[in-house]
Symmetry: C2
Subunit: 132 residues, 2 copies
DNA sequence: ATAAAAACCGAGTCATCTACTCGGTATTAT
DNA sequence: ATAATACCGAGTAGATGACTCGGTTTTTAT
């Protein structure tokens, strides 16, 4: 029942990109956030493949958001970075005993509620919280 | 970001105990729910140590709820059965960069909201949902 | 009193996942 | 041409989850 460091790092990385203008080198983000460069690179690669960010090679290159901060919410981020998104498998994989399982509906409802909450948190709202 | 099978089995086991009167042998619960006996035993032992259930040895023994169904909510169950309860460590362990971490408050709020939701789901509400 | 039914206990295993690391290649601004 | 950057595949160490196994203790029913 833990959100992985991968997702946590990913969110922090995206936040840094959201704060900056133009492209920011990954190394710079890693340094600011105290995250291993090699690892953050994997994370950014993944986010890039899903078109959350764009990349530019060579000097003065780096990464930049490909979407508006208000369009990137936590649910989307976790869908990319968590390998198994959703609280229990039976929600999306379909268990054989679903019909007579007394608690399946509990998990399903909970899963929905959590995902709703996640959608309310966007990079924009986080930026605004940190505007002081 | 998964709820473990341990917790899922635990909830289903507790549900069966809640339905029955007196003591129910663990084997019977395991059979009904299609859960490994050896494994369910570990789970019940854990729940018993935390006084959610009581045990009785010998023939016509078994396990029974030690609390009222409305007093046992999902948050309490997960606190016993998940080894790491809470969505991110920084919430309870305290990270060294907490002060300048832009997203700590996000996780904290989310964690609180999820836990609130979990408290609303009790064995009683699950029993009522399955009353047809 | 004995046999059977149950809970109790500690240890061990196997697979999967996370959180990395490492060594190298490709691209591009200066 | 050089240096800065992204890109890529493989590998690894540790933790955890989901069990299994072999036994011990307690208690009820006969």
């Amino acid at each position: 029942m833990k959100i992985s460091k991968r997702s946590q790092y990913g969110l922090r990385g995206l936040f840094r990109l959201a704060q900056a203008e133009g492209h920011t080198p990954m190394r710079e983000v890693a340094k600011k956030e105290g995250i291993s460069e090699d690892y953050l690179e994997k994370i950014f690669t993944r986010l890039e493949k899903k078109d959350f960010i764009t990349s530019k090679r060579g000097p003065s290159g780096g990464y930049a958001l490909a979407m508006k901060p208000e369009e990137i919410n936590l649910r989307l981020i976790l869908e990319v970075l968590e390998n198994n998104f959703s609280l229990v498998e039976c929600v999306d994989e379909g268990c054989s005993r679903l019909d007579d399982c007394p608690v399946a509906s509990v998990w399903k409802r909970l899963d929905d509620e959590v995902k709703e909450k996640l959608e309310l948190i966007t990079l924009k709202t986080i930026l605004e919280n940190n505007k002081d």
